[in-house]
Amino acid sequence: MSFYFVSIGGTGAKVMESLTHLCIAGLLPDNERLYITAIDPDVGNGNLERTSTALNNFNVFQNFSVGNDTLLFKNKISIVRPFPWNPTGHDKTLDDLIEFYHHSNTPVGKLYEVLYTKKERETTLNEGFRGHPSIGAAVLAKKFDDGEKFSTLTAQIEKTIGEGESVKIFLAGSVFGGTGAAGLPTIARLLKNNLGDYSDRISIGGVLILPYFSFTPTDKFDELFARSENFLPNTKAALKYYSEKENLFDATYFIGDSVMTPVGEFSVGSANQRNEAHIVELYAALAAADFYARPLHAPKIFKYICHHERDKFSWSDFPASAERFVQFARFIFAYVHLIKPVLNDLISGEAKVYKYPWFVDFLDGVDLTAPDVVNFNFYAEAFAAWLKQIETLDGREIFLINPAMFESNPARLVDKKLFAALDGNKTKLTIHEIFYRLTEPFKFDSTVKGFGKFLRRLYDTCADN
């Protein structure tokens, strides 16, 4: 079995970010490889950039030799390129993309002029479809007709199937914006059509993200852009579409929030569109994990997930193994707070080696400036920052990791005593206990080595047992 994940648009990219963290934390089922691809005309948008960074970090350090009998890094990731795929190209308008100039003064051209306003037709699409799914639908349909992108994605899927494996494909995007709303049904249909010969070996799932944030555009923007007041009408229209048309997904997840979290600063798109992570995206990633865990041709089921208190989220609302997630979070905090500063000091010659028995035992002779180690350092801080964003959400009280853990950036602990009660439950796992455990005897098989051996040991010491 192989898992595929297709991120569509900015919200899809944010789900992909959460899924990447879940994957690295070992919360995906089995040891299957996860193939990831992204479709976004706004290739420079900050959300996608952040996700791509985490993905590329993991792509570099995922081959650490941590052994096969651990959850840590068990699901490897492959990025299906071009990543992300930009269906619009650079500085193109809708008129350019559908080659309107060939069709003007024809009946089709006149119909097109009726369906799209002049502004919709002449706005460059570098920042995406600007909350207008009608633009996205036209562009994607045209591009897919031309066979772009899907030649690589479907070829990869066919190759996987050709190797005798089954494939589970999961699509994620919003139904209230532009790219996701246009892309979800279009891409699902295209996959169904292109891979129709392998229908007994393929299952397609999707998460349709309903509105969960809002923003206030500033007056200076006299141009085409998404407006949060349109989110609900857009959603209503999309859901009507899904209820009336054939459901293309073998499993469909709807996830949204009744509280619209305000995003910090409005941006049409591009690098400035860097929204904070949200619990809805984490749930959407967990939906993907749930889909991957289901049998290939499981009967369609309808589940309703609710949480215990209206405005609060806690572990009792978490539809996955809290224990695994907390162990991974503890591992990252221990690394960033206790290990990383030492490694930096040792590299710069400011620390004495004898003080750190775990360094002598595991890392003496290991190149700490190697790309995989450096990428893990970046990733560890990115995970902590992501978790902090989820925990400190405006309008929602999230009680997964103690928010006081995030007083200092990125995961340095101001009050070290908090570490033992990272998830609100008192344990004996103090920072000192971790330091001590790292020095105790243990046994791994011979495949565990190098920096991976140290990370594996650190991860194991972070288990509450």
Binding site: L338, P341, V342, V360, D361, T430, Y436, F442
Partner: protein, 166 residues
């Protein structure tokens, strides 16, 4: 072996090595210089000198054992490493080693006149080597809690050579 068992074993090891050091200092001291020193001491025969010398080695050995035990107990139960800077504690270990040396030489220097026996340089050398060298330095290399196991000087080359992670 769990941590509690390891702690108990190490405490017993400290006690055993301390007793061994006392025995060694007594045996070597009495055989190498005992007769000569007993003769040199006022109102002293060999068996009486041995009795007094044994009291001296017990006192020096016990106080040195307390240094080794103090280091072990501090590193095991007192020192907390909740920040990278909190690791190591070599100054504390070195201070105890100086205390051990001061005890080895000081007990011999001040307690021997009280007991009424004379000592010579060989005994001072033996006390320094046996109590401080063996009873503190070497003993702490093998009994220091794992979180500080490379803190005693020389521990790294000795322990690392025998270390097998898997």
């Amino acid at each position: 072996m769990n941590r509690t068992t390891r702690t108990i074993i190490k405490i017993f090891l400290i006690a055993a090595v301390t007793v061994g050091c006392v025995a060694l200092a007594y045996y070597l001291g009495s055989n190498i210089a005992g007769h000569k020193l007993a003769t040199a001491s006022d109102n002293m025969n060999y068996s009486r000198w041995l009795e007094k010398y044994f009291a001296l080695t017990r006192a020096a050995g016990l106080l040195n054992g307390l240094c080794a035990l103090g280091w072990f107990l501090s590193a095991r139960f007192l020192f907390e490493v909740d920040e990278a800077a909190g690791a190591g504690k070599r100054i504390f270990w070195a201070a105890l080693m100086m205390a051990s040396l001061a005890i080895s030489l000081g007990v011999a220097h001040f307690y021997a006149p009280i007991l009424g026996i004379k000592l010579n340089g060989i005994i001072f050398g033996l006390f320094a080597i046996i109590f401080t060298g063996l009873g503190y330095w070497l003993l702490t290399i093998f009994t220091t809690p794992l979180a500080f196991k490379y803190t005693p000087l020389g521990a790294r080359p000795i322990l690392k050579r025998n270390y097998k992670a898997d």
